[in-house]
């Protein structure tokens, strides 16, 4: 990976984790909207769609500005529905960009994920174009400026027999056919968005398209409140014989307008294309060199029992069940290396330890933990922290505990936890990333299911689960992890004390002494 690119992604990630940690402190990781940015974007676009249907009933292509002005005058419904349409569009765009930034910073944009990256960027571009048509629909000063700039860019291309910019010079009245075409685009593009969204999530299992219900309603409620308190302003009507003076501009969608006004159209095309190409290809340039690519999982056919658990747990649908070659009746798992991101979640799901990336299968983990124990003198009061390298425990020693690093909490095989406890350690704390911040989507979710809810490969009932705990903390949340560790140690101490009390003869201990027997 080029040094500059590495620094760029590291710095981006550092800022992102700091912001995440700040928001986590206020809302908790389960309701951190930054972790749910992709799902929030989809949910808010649905709000845009619903409000847009209402607005469509009142829009007239023959009198665009007047019809929008009438809507803005409807104090009870039209005004806030229009404002909600606007604010939800803005928030959806911000959420989508945040989502893209996270994927970039976490190296989740190349290899099998390149389709999601490319389709995601195209989605953002289509959303921007959709916003462009929406603002032109209003036909206020901003709409006219957008229409004129758009026409200027298109006229620079040898596409149209007649320059379309002439439509906006005042030579003749603008035909309503223009507004009809614009309206058609504004309605048709969201259909394209649906197709793109389907492509965007086509390589992930169980795509999350909606945030947790409480967060969703909180976001919609907040935008609704904003719409009621501060309704979107309608600018002055478009006038081709007047230059815009203090018209309202939506910076989220039309940030480029003040920048491009003074530039020749070809310069805008060149700069825009270069920017788009850089953003599209950046993850490919910044990915590790080919020999450092994490290897895909493989299946040991002799060990595979055909239970389908790895197939069910894989977050990227990289595993298929196929007919086996050794004549046994049950199917065998097969990993498609083109889809596998080497998360190792399959290794954690396989009870017979027959699948996983090389060096990270259940068997490999058991031999590694044996080495780990042999190299240390572990006492009965010690806590071993099994830490995901992407989370808070990934940066080394933690308050004198023994830290055993893993690539993803979902990769951890429960036998490792059992082995540690059987070896005599006091407790095992698994430091996982916050649920929706997992670099491999579902690692913490499957880990919790396997440890506490009997999902294959489950932690065996013979293991004392009170001595196992999962803590969720992002990379910038070491204090939170330390607090969880301290609390866990306290609980373990109480447990040990209680265990000691079992040996006490209660009759003897509670027998009144001379002092206590005094009235």
């Amino acid at each position: 990976m080029p040094r500059l690119g590495q620094q760029l992604t590291n710095q981006t990630r550092r800022v992102l984790t700091w912001v995440d940690a700040t928001v986590n402190r206020l809302y908790g990781w389960r309701f951190n909207p930054l972790y749910q940015s992709g799902a929030l974007a989809t949910a808010l676009l649905s709000v845009v769609l619903l409000t847009g249907v209402y607005l469509l009933f009142f829009y007239k292509v023959s009198a665009p500005y007047d019809s929008v002005a009438r809507l803005a005058d409807q104090v009870w419904l039209g005004r806030w529905v229009r404002s909600l349409h606007r604010y939800a569009s803005d928030a959806a765009l911000v959420a989508a960009l945040f989502h893209a930034l996270r994927m970039f910073a976490q190296h989740r944009a190349w290899g099998p994920r390149v389709l999601a990256w490319a389709s995601g960027l195209i989605l953002v571009f289509v959303v921007l174009v959709c916003g462009w048509t929406g603002y032109v629909m209003v036909w206020d000063a901003q709409g006219l400026a957008l229409a004129r700039e758009g026409a200027r860019f298109l006229d620079a291309l040898p596409l149209f027999s007649e320059p379309i910019g002439r439509s906006f010079v005042g030579e003749r009245e603008l035909p309503s056919a223009f507004f009809f075409l614009n309206l058609f685009l504004h309605v048709a593009l969201p259909i394209g968005l649906g197709v793109l969204l389907w492509i965007h999530v086509s390589r992930v299992a169980r795509p999350v398209l909606l945030p947790p219900r409480r967060l969703l309603w909180a976001a919609v409620g907040a935008l609704l409140a904003l719409s009621l308190i501060w309704p979107a302003v309608l600018g002055p009507e478009a006038d081709v014989f007047r230059l815009p003076q203090r018209a309202p501009l939506d910076v989220f969608y039309n940030f480029w307008l003040p920048l491009t006004e003074r530039l020749p159209a070809w310069t805008v095309w060149t700069l825009g294309s270069a920017f788009a190409a850089i953003v599209m290809l950046a993850p490919l340039w910044l990915r590790p060199a080919a020999p450092d690519h994490p290897p895909a999982s493989s299946v040991d056919e002799r060990l595979c029992t055909g239970c389908r658990q790895c197939y069910l747990d894989c977050p990227y649908e990289a595993i298929a069940m196929m007919e086996r070659t050794d004549g046994r009746p049950e199917p065998v798992a097969h990993v498609d290396p083109a889809l596998c991101v080497s998360c190792g979640i399959c290794a954690g799901s396989c009870a017979p330890m027959g699948v996983g990336p090389p060096g990270r299968t259940g068997r490999d983990q058991l031999s590694a933990i044996r080495q780990f124990i042999m190299q240390r003198r572990l006492a009965g009061t010690d806590v071993v922290v099994i830490a995901c390298t992407h989370g808070a425990g990934g940066s080394g020693a933690l308050d004198g505990t023994h830290v055993y690093p893993i690539d993803c909490a979902g990769n951890l095989h429960t036998s490792v936890v059992e082995y540690l406890l059987r070896s005599g350690v006091g407790g095992v704390l698994v430091a996982a990333c916050p649920g929706r911040d997992c670099w491999h989507r579902e690692g913490p979710k499957w880990l919790t299911e396997r440890l506490y809810h009997d999902r294959e490969a489950e932690l065996q009932p013979r293991v004392d689960k009170r001595r196992v705990r999962v803590a969720h903390a992002g990379a910038a949340e070491r204090p939170a992890l330390l607090a969880a560790l301290t609390a866990f140690r306290g609980d373990l101490a109480a447990l040990d004390a209680a265990a000691g009390e079992e040996t006490i003869d209660l009759d003897f201990a509670c027998e009144p002494t001379e002092e206590t027997a005094k009235p």
């Binding site: 911000v94 007649e162 907040a222 081709v240 014989f241 230059l243 815009p244 939506d250 910076v251």
Partner: protein
């Protein structure tokens, strides 16, 4: 203490984010030229097509397939126009305007915008078709009234040979004046704000 204030800080953060969303959603915007006036030139004239032919040499004919051999190779094209704009006597634009289209066979379009300081200005525009033949160049200076009227008849089928406008404009800040071609009057006309006095 920190636990007590956490919901308050959370609410403040949400309020801040919403306020930023509302403010950036309708930030005040003015055109970069809003303090100036604008003179817009926009018109379309039908082009005058000409065929420029040359005789092919025997070698060139030899290289062509038999069914494509013609004695003359003719390239159709539309004559260009020379546009000259003077503002207050100073030349602002002087350029050749070619016919539109990848092959230059579409009408001739003019679309220019000139930034002016607010106030009164004298605008002079000349839009002259390039000469069709060498003879036309020689006789251009000796154009007779009869030739002029023939030209006007041609204008209806082809583009006008010459368009001109002298106008005095008075424009305020942010105002736009448009000069366009009126095919009925067959002359340039002034529209929009500030047209004070115009004559072709």
């Amino acid at each position: 203490m920190s636990r007590v204030f956490r919901p308050v800080r959370g609410a403040l953060l949400a309020l801040g984010a919403l306020a930023a969303l509302g403010a950036l959603s309708q930030a005040p915007y003015a055109s970069t030229e809003a303090s100036h006036a604008l003179l817009r030139l926009a018109w379309r004239v039908r082009g005058t097509p000409v065929h420029e032919c040359r005789r092919l040499s025997p070698e060139e004919l030899e290289r062509l397939p038999v069914h494509m051999r013609r004695a003359e190779d003719c390239e159709p094209r539309v004559l260009s126009y020379r546009l000259e704009v003077r503002i207050d006597g100073r030349v602002e634009t002087e350029q050749l305007v070619h016919a539109a289209g990848a092959r230059g066979d579409r009408p001739v379009y003019v679309h220019r915008e000139l930034i002016l300081s607010p106030g009164e200005h004298l605008v002079e525009i000349a839009f002259v078709r390039e000469p069709q033949h060498e003879e036309e160049i020689e006789h251009e200076a000796e154009e007779t009234a009869e030739e002029e009227s023939r030209e006007h008849r041609d204008d209806e089928r082809q583009g006008p040979a010459r368009l001109a406008l002298h106008a005095r404009l008075s424009l305020g800040a942010g105002e736009v004046a448009l000069i366009t071609y009126d095919p009925e009057q067959r002359s340039l006309v002034l529209r929009g704000r500030g047209p004070a006095d115009a004559r072709p």
